[in-house]
C-alpha cells in the first residue's frame, strides 16, 4: 500500500519537475514547482515525518513560492515566453547531472550516510515527531539553530535596509 503511494508521489515529483524545466511560461514553471513540493510533502508523510510535510507545504509551497509568483507576476511574462530557451550549455548541464547521479548512486549504494544510520530516533516510530524535532532542535542542534536564526535576522535587516534606501531621498 505504502509502496503504491510512494511510486505515485515519486512519479509526481519527476513529472512536475520535468514540467517545471520545460515550460516556457515562467508562471507555469513556478506552478509546476509547487506541484512538485506538494508531492514531496506526500513523501514526507509516508516517511512518518508529518511535521516536515507541514513545513514543506507551509514554507515552501505556501510562502516562498507565493513570493516567487508575486514577483514574476509583476514582470512581463509575455516577453520571456518569446525568448530563446536554449543557452548551448547542454554539455555542461549533462556533466553536472551525471556527477550528481554518480554521487547519489555511491551514497545510496553504501546504504546512506553513516551518521544517518547511527541515528537514535527512528522517524515514524516516535511518540510524535513534533516533540522529537523540538527536543533535537533545542538540545543537540541548539547552536546551528541559533546560527541559522541569526543569519535569517541579518538577511531580513539587510533586505529592509536595501528597500528603505529607495524610499527616503
Amino acid at each position: 500500500m505504502e509502496l503504491v503511494f510512494f511510486y505515485l508521489f515519486a512519479a509526481g515529483i519527476v513529472g512536475a519537475s520535468l514540467l517545471m524545466v520545460t515550460r516556457a511560461n515562467v508562471i507555469h514553471a513556478a506552478l509546476s514547482l509547487v506541484l512538485a513540493f506538494l508531492f514531496m510533502a506526500g513523501l514526507f508523510v509516508l516517511a512518518g515525518a508529518e511535521f516536515l510535510a507541514g513545513v514543506q507545504i507551509l514554507i515552501y509551497a505556501g510562502g516562498i513560492m507565493v513570493l516567487y509568483l508575486f514577483s514574476i507576476m509583476l514582470m512581463n511574462v509575455g516577453v520571456a515566453v518569446r525568448l530563446r530557451q536554449w543557452h548551448r550549455q547542454s554539455a555542461l548541464a549533462l556533466a553536472a547531472a551525471l556527477l550528481l547521479a554518480a554521487e547519489v548512486w555511491v551514497v545510496l549504494g553504501r546504504g546512506g550516510y553513516p551518521a544517518a544510520q547511527a541515528w537514535s530516533w527512528r522517524l515514524g516510530q516516535t511518540p510524535g515527531n513534533v516533540e522529537a524535532l523540538g527536543q533535537v532542535l533545542y538540545t543537540k542542534f541548539l547552536f546551528p539553530f541559533e546560527v541559522a536564526s541569526v543569519l535569517l535576522l541579518a538577511a531580513m535587516i539587510g533586505a529592509i535596509v536595501l528597500a528603505k534606501r529607495q524610499i527616503t531621498r
Binding site: 509583476l74 514582470m75 512581463n76 534606501r165 529607495q166 531621498r169
Partner: protein, 380 residues
C-alpha cells in the same frame, strides 16, 4: 567607479526594476465613479502619479437647448441637470430668470421654495453619504440613508407628483400651493431625521477605520481650494465660511437662522463632517420654514407671454454640491439668447487631480466620493 555608479542608479530610480507603471481606467462603468465618469489613473504600485478625467458621456447640449426654448419651457430641463437635487436646479433657474425680470415673489412661495430646496439638499447629501460610505466599505449606512431618502422622495411626490425630476417651481412662484399633507409629513420627517443622522454618525464618525480612511486624505488648503474655484462643502471643508444662502441670500433664507459649518483641515473627513452638519442645519431650516410659513398666494402675476428686457444677469444659489448658477443673456425676445449653467460638479471635479496626486488608488475612490459629483450637471 562602477560600483558607485550602480548604487546611485538604484537610488535615483523610484520604480522597481522590471516593473512598469500601470494605467488603470476607472469607469465609465466602474462602481465607484458615481455615474459615467471615466478617470484614467497612472499608477506606480498603488500610488497615483497622474490622473485625467474623461467627462462628457452625458452631454446633452442643455445650454443649446435653453437658447431655443422659452424661459418657462426650460424648467424641466433643469431637473435633468442635478437630478439628485432637482428642486435646487429648478430654484437656480427660476431665481435667475426672476432676477432678469425683477419680479416680486410672494413670501409663501419663498418659504416653500426654501423648504423644498432644503429637502433636496438632504436628499442629495443622503445619496452622497450612502455612496461615499459604500465606497469605503460601510454597507449598512448605504441602506439606512436610502431609507430616509425614500421618505424625502415620497414627500416630493406628495407635493409635486414626481419623485426625482420634480419640476417643483414656476417662474413667479409655484404652480400651486402644496397640500397640507405635505406639510404634515415634512414636520414628521423633520422631527425624526436628526435621530437618524445620529445613527449614521454612530457607525462612522468615531469609527477608527473610517477615521483612518478619511483623515488626512485628499487634503486641500483654503487658498488652493479658492484658487481652483471649488465651492460648496468642498470649500467649506477647507475652512472657508462661504455659503451663498448666507452671503447673497435668496428665497426665504434672509429670515432663517442656520449655521454654516466649516472644517479645518480640508480633508475627506472634514467634508464628511460639513455635510453631516449641513443635514442637521437643513432640518433646522425645515422646522423654521414650517413654523413661520406665511399664508397668502404662492405666485405673483405672471404675464402670458414672458419677454424680459434685454440684458444679462448671473445668479447663483447654494446647491448641495456648490455654487449652482445661471448666466443669462437676453435679447428681449421670448427665448434666452445665451444660457450658461455654472455647474458645481464640473468645476469641483476639475480640482480632482490636485487632490489625488501622490495618494493611493483606494484614496481616489474616497476623494471622488468626497467631492460629491453628479454627472448630469457636470456634463450638461
Amino acid at each position: 567607479m562602477f560600483e558607485v555608479e550602480s548604487s546611485t542608479r538604484i537610488e535615483r530610480s523610484s520604480v522597481m526594476p522590471g516593473t512598469e507603471e500601470l494605467i488603470i481606467n476607472m469607469g465609465p462603468q466602474h462602481p465607484s465613479t458615481h455615474g459615467v465618469l471615466r478617470v484614467i489613473l497612472r499608477l506606480d504600485g498603488e500610488t497615483v502619479t497622474d490622473c485625467d478625467c474623461d467627462i462628457g458621456f452625458l452631454h446633452r447640449g442643455t445650454e443649446k437647448i435653453g437658447e431655443n426654448i422659452t424661459y418657462t419651457m426650460f424648467i424641466p430641463y433643469t431637473d435633468r441637470l442635478d437630478y439628485i437635487a432637482a428642486p435646487s436646479s429648478n430654484l437656480a433657474w427660476v431665481t435667475a430668470v426672476e432676477k432678469l425680470f425683477g419680479w416680486e415673489i410672494p413670501m409663501r412661495a419663498h418659504y416653500i421654495r426654501s423648504l423644498v430646496a432644503e429637502f433636496s439638499r438632504i436628499s442629495s447629501h443622503l445619496l452622497w453619504l450612502a455612496t461615499h460610505a459604500l465606497d469605503i466599505g460601510a454597507m449598512t449606512v448605504f441602506l439606512w440613508c436610502f431609507r430616509e431618502r425614500e421618505m424625502v422622495l415620497d414627500l416630493f411626490e406628495t407635493a409635486f407628483g414626481a419623485r426625482l425630476t420634480v419640476n417643483a417651481f414656476r417662474l413667479g412662484g409655484l404652480f400651486q400651493d402644496v397640500p397640507q399633507k405635505f406639510l404634515d409629513l415634512s414636520q414628521e420627517f423633520a422631527d425624526l431625521f436628526p435621530g437618524r443622522i445620529g445613527d449614521y454618525e454612530t457607525l462612522l464618525t468615531d469609527n477608527r477605520i473610517w477615521l483612518q480612511r478619511t483623515r488626512g486624505i485628499g487634503v486641500i488648503s483654503a487658498d488652493d481650494a479658492i484658487d481652483l474655484s471649488l465651492t460648496g462643502p468642498v470649500l467649506r471643508g477647507s475652512g472657508v465660511r462661504w455659503d451663498i444662502r448666507r452671503a447673497e441670500p435668496y428665497a426665504a433664507y434672509p429670515y432663517l437662522d442656520f449655521v454654516v459649518p466649516v472644517g479645518e483641515n480640508g480633508d475627506v473627513y472634514d467634508r464628511y463632517l460639513v455635510r453631516i452638519e449641513e443635514m442637521r442645519q437643513s432640518t433646522r431650516i425645515i422646522q423654521q420654514c414650517l413654523a413661520q410659513l406665511p399664508k397668502g398666494p404662492v405666485s405673483c402675476k405672471v404675464p402670458r407671454t414672458i419677454k424680459p428686457p434685454a440684458g444679462e444677469v448671473y445668479h447663483s444659489i447654494e446647491n448641495p454640491k456648490g455654487e449652482f448658477g445661471f448666466y443669462l443673456v437676453s435679447d428681449g425676445s421670448e427665448t434666452p439668447y445665451r444660457v450658461r449653467i455654472r455647474p458645481p460638479s464640473f468645476v469641483n471635479l476639475g480640482g480632482l487631480k490636485k487632490l489625488v496626486l501622490g495618494g493611493l488608488v483606494a484614496d481616489v475612490v474616497a476623494i471622488i466620493g468626497s467631492i460629491d459629483i453628479v454627472l448630469g450637471e457636470c456634463d450638461r
